[in-house]
Point group: C2
Chain length 166, copies 2
């Protein structure tokens, strides 16, 4: 009994599903490398998009991944939460390989990023201006969509940016 290669190039349906996950996710799981041991760490992060639709998080200086991303910007993000029912492994999820880059408070883009974030994450008003918090861009290098039907799709950054106004 052989099974087909599970990873396929993106098709329109996969692009729509990936973009929906990107635009609706408000949190994600982040995989990072511990700078002291070189082994993986994992955290829950707030997730959103910058005004141009590129992935973003808002991180406290107390979070262990803050220093880790500064030391080693290569990271991975998983979006898409299983529902209450059914096999969690059949629910769609999007895995992003990213490079993390902090947005300086003095950067020209900061004000627009902050305003856009507060539209989608209103509770962040309480802490967004704490001095140890920072926005971190998660620049997508490649993506893998597991569509929840035992088939996976490999996506390029452009596949995630086709949406307008979603």
């Amino acid at each position: 009994m052989t099974r087909p290669d599970p990873v396929q190039p993106a098709d329109p349906e996969a692009r729509v599903l990936a973009q929906r996950l990107l635009h609706t996710a408000r949190h994600a799981a982040l995989a990072w490398t511990d700078p002291e041991t070189g082994t993986p760490g994992i955290s829950r992060i707030a997730f959103g998009l910058c005004p141009e639709g590129r992935p973003l998080t808002l991180v406290s200086g107390l979070a262990p991944h803050r220093a880790a991303l500064q030391a080693q910007p290569a990271a991975a993000v998983m979006l898409g939460e299983p529902g209450e029912k059914g096999d969690p492994l059949t629910h769609p999820r999007l895995m992003l390989r990213v490079l993390a880059e902090e947005v300086a408070r003095s950067a020209p883009a900061h004000a627009a990023i902050r305003a856009h974030w507060l539209e989608t994450h209103p509770k962040a008003t309480l802490y967004v201006d704490f001095p140890d918090f920072a926005f971190v861009r998660l620049e997508v290098q490649s993506a893998l969509l597991n569509g929840g039907f035992a088939r996976a799709f490999r996506l390029e950054p452009g596949d995630l940016r086709d949406v307008t106004g979603a």
Copy 2:
């Protein structure tokens, strides 16, 4: 304005919460190291416990983390799913630093592990005996509980094993 060190030693309440997350989780996020690039990867995995209460997953040979864990057994696991309401970052989650070790089908423990897994993951009956599937122990090295109230607790493996009959 200073804030207290957010990571504290485990207390009884933290142990109970961590053990509840361990015993109820049926899936998890896994952070692993890509053997080709040395950078982080992330996957959703099935999660359960072996009959002695130690963390376990069941992995297909098609999953990218299968080969990664064989090459680099150090990994990290996150348990605890945000609910539908409220700030997802205030929901409790448990992060485990683990070492992965496959359970050979010929190992004496395999039959009991398989039987126990099918009690907690009945849908796995469909694929547990596929030749490319394997159980992988996730041996806990240390744990961090984020209790969802802006405080975190560092736990040792023994803190996760105090429960009897939970």
